[in-house]
Symmetry: C2
Subunit: 325 residues, 2 copies
């Protein structure tokens, strides 16, 4: 890592893409050479201005990738069908691609997965979906923890995030400030849903080497405030919605249950927790939990040296070791 | 994994080797075909009798490896100079080797490491040192946790093991029941020392991509009982030694400190803890800590499918992903 810089492009300069770009610019082993976005308001501007860096970077935002790079950090959308064309053409350019697309963390559509895998292998590059969730706290970290177990019969993975410390769009996205009725309508319209929970569950099963007999639907419920909660951006009255409670479960040889609670006013209980029933039983807690946006950018950047050493094709977080770099 | 069984030999049938063998025999994807030990009292006997299984396995303990296998699980000694000849000949037989030799978790002797690496590569097989500590709780797990960090400035890794629940040799090994004077003499004679703490530290630095400016000596101190402690095997009077307190520290771009406390009577405080100073700060706790012997066997067996997919050569736990299998 000390000898030669890795050339990297940031593809997608939304809130997460900007966070990734800021982090990339701090790494001595990275040379950020390109920044891509479709927004006409960003194209042609210096990346430093677009991400509020307070200095110029010498990298102008472009509509397309201007040259071949070693690695593309991709952060544009959550669904495979929205990103699959982008990923294909990036792989064809000969770049490894690390993406925050939630559905890419374990591509459930076999045909899309096989097509991307073939393109990646033909170009001798790797495609990885990562992030903090999906990508780490509810899949990679619990999987890693089970390595000390002689037997695992059940796994419970609980993430309680305090949305009060997160950006406004996220507070709105979990339904904070809605009535229960508005919340249920938003759920039915597909507007309130944490993406990637099912992918995390299937990734955990895959890593443990089991196929579930049954996989439940995702259950999405409101968390109702029992007191007034005030954040920097909004106010929730008692009886209004503070956030979302989402669960999914796979049963079979090993039962795995994922529970995600994201709501404002959760400061006292925020944590990431993994409970393993097996030999031995295990209970792991990360106090306050891992903060979403910052950690997602870290996961992407820290994965770069690992992906460059990995085998070509579509990989998941179960296929590579990770650490800060 | 479902299609073809992996042929495995257990090399070394001491307490840990026996635990690994017992676990191997429960795995449907493993075919345990050989068991090797130098003890004349074990050679020629059925493995089931030697490990107290209560049934015959059809595998007789032999002095040497009787045939080529896919993977050898190796558990004979803690020091590289004691195992290096064994490892070389096992690799030359064309088998992947996973060993609990503590010094193999990060081979500090460059010449031995390079020789073994060349032998492994020439035979297209992989050599891995693993275990719970070194191998997981004080190196692999903290490294994995740092993947969510944009920045890491310091890492503190604390393992407090309650020796009361461990086997008698381990209780004796940590000095339980000694006077402080006896303890200090045993430390000076090299008889009380947890093996592998330095290897864990260097492995953590390696995984984080930093070289330490300074690495401290290992500091080994007695933990003195302030009350009577009675275990299944021994009794410790107030003022006598309950166990060992061992620390090591690396400083530089990232400061890393490892602290190991193994003593009888630690039930109330036993835990594995990782504290990361960085962006974000993190505090991870595994309640009661991960039990040593059972977990070491699990680490070895769970590593089998990962090692079979890895690149040839001498690898460390930083090079492979892990999970229960």
């Amino acid at each position: 890592m000390n000898t030669k810089q890795v050339t990297v492009a940031q593809y997608g300069i939304g809130p997460i893409g900007a966070e990734i770009a800021r982090l990339l610019l701090t790494k001595p082993w990275v040379k950020l050479v390109a920044a891509v976005d479709i927004d006409p308001g960003k194209i042609g501007k210096d990346l430093g201005d677009v991400i509020g860096l307070g200095r110029q970077t010498g990298v102008k935002v472009t509509k397309d990738l201007p040259s071949k790079v070693d690695v593309v950090c991709h952060s544009t959308a959550s669904r495979m069908r929205e990103v699959d064309g982008q990923l294909k053409s990036l792989l064809e350019s000969g770049a490894h691609v690390i993406s925050t697309c939630e559905e890419l963390s374990f591509p459930l559509d076999k045909q899309i997965r096989e097509t991307l895998d073939a393109v990646a292998k033909a170009n001798k590059v790797t495609l990885l979906g990562t992030g903090v969730n999906p990508g780490f706290v509810m899949d990679k970290l619990p999987l890693t923890l089970t390595a000390v177990c002689q037997e695992v019969t059940a796994l419970e993975i609980i993430r309680i995030q305090n949305a009060s410390t997160r950006r406004e769009p996220l507070q709105r996205k979990v339904g904070a400030g809605m009535t229960v009725d508005e919340f249920r309508k938003a759920v039915d319209a597909g507007k309130i849903k944490h993406m990637g929970l099912k992918e995390s569950l299937i990734l955990v099963g895959h890593g443990l080497g089991v196929e579930f007999d049954t996989v439940s639907d995702e259950n999405i419920q409101p968390i109702v405030a029992d007191r007034e909660i005030v954040t920097k951006y909004l106010k929730v009255a008692p009886g209004q919605v503070a956030g979302v409670h989402q669960t999914i479960e796979g049963t079979g040889q090993i039962n795995v249950r994922l529970e995600l609670r994201m709501y404002v006013g959760a400061e006292a209980v925020a944590a990431d927790k993994v409970i393993v029933k097996g030999i031995p039983d295990l209970e792991m807690v990360i106090k306050d939990g891992v903060h979403g946006d910052r950690a997602t950018a870290a996961m992407v950047v820290n994965a770069i040296p690992r992906v460059m050493k990995a085998t070509p094709g579509v990989l998941t977080m179960d296929d590579i070791p990770v650490s800060f770099r």
